[in-house]
Symmetry: C2
Subunit: 196 residues, 2 copies
């Protein structure tokens, strides 16, 4: 039991590094970039609060576990900005290797469970994963609307690009959230605030 | 439904401020203070990984929800350092008022549910709350052991004080974690590292 606990605590100490992985997006206050640990907490809160936007097959507690783990691979692989110029094949390879190393710090049963849950999230096919992905995509646009455009300005993003990169996954997993968000995005972009 | 969603998103935007509430403790890397949002994520990860330290009555998914919400009151009330000179009666009053205002941003049914869960955590009487409290107390000592003493040095904490402030709640909710931690604390303090 001590070996098991030693392995678990070694993993939890390594996970502390997620607090130092910075995302492209900023806080609503805009005074610094968001890190992936606090982002994970925030989207878990979104999933719990917005649970009534999920379909009847979605189990929110599984979604919460999925979101708790979903960014840990970034400790090794870094964050890939959604609007950045990313080699997605290389990134997927780096993240799979990161999942092996990081979850592999845990006892074998937990390593398997956690990696399986992370792979389900990445595959974005089950109802739980589709809702989790929708929630993950929803938070940043809400922040950007509040802080004057955020990453949209920095990466020169168009409304059409947002419809593909954000609209598609949100419509698949939580269409009601897209109904709320889309007119606000359209108003923001038509006001020309993006190019300020 | 739109009013409901507007209220939920207003709450989620307000919750972003938890990322700017700084705790007394630092990251393992020691290069900055930890904020309460990333702390919340980290202790949820502790609860999931260390679930086999919980008693048979503990429902981990309820514990995760409790820990997801447990620090939100700090947006208004601030963080009370465990080793600081805190007026606990005044703090409890400020936190109760914060819970009313912050959870009160949500639709009434969620406001009631969230405040009830937070009050259960604070009361520390149910098996779920006792395990959640134990986990909340366990993370910082593990960090302090890694980064040279952290808040123990800053607040001139003794091993005896730690036994009361940290040992008691951990023994009540997760005694196996205290069995792991206590000899490490004793070794750290007997080595005199605290007064470096």
């Amino acid at each position: 039991m001590t070996d098991r606990l030693d392995a678990q605590i070694a993993f939890l100490k390594e996970a502390d590094k997620l607090k130092s992985v910075l995302r492209a997006s900023r806080l609503i206050s805009a005074d610094r970039h968001e890190n992936s640990a606090e982002h994970s907490w925030h989207i878990m809160l979104h999933a719990l609060v917005l649970a009534d936007q999920a379909g009847p097959q979605v189990r929110i507690d599984r979604v919460l576990r999925m979101l708790l783990l979903h960014d840990i691979v970034e400790i090794d692989a870094g964050d890939a900005p959604i609007h950045g110029d990313v080699d997605h094949v290389a990134m997927a390879r780096a993240e799979a290797e990161a999942a092996r190393r990081l979850f592999g710090l845990l006892p074998a049963d937990q390593a398997d469970d956690f990696r399986t849950l992370w792979e389900e999230f990445e595959a974005a096919e089950t109802p739980d994963a589709l809702f989790a992905k929708a929630i993950d995509r929803f938070q940043t646009p809400v922040i950007n609307l509040e802080n004057g455009g955020g990453t949209w300005t920095e990466y020169r993003v168009t409304l059409e690009q947002l419809d593909t990169r954000v609209g598609v996954p949100i419509r698949r997993g939580a269409p009601g959230l897209w109904d709320w968000l889309q007119p606000r995005l359209a108003a923001f972009f038509s006001a020309g605030a993006r190019s300020d």
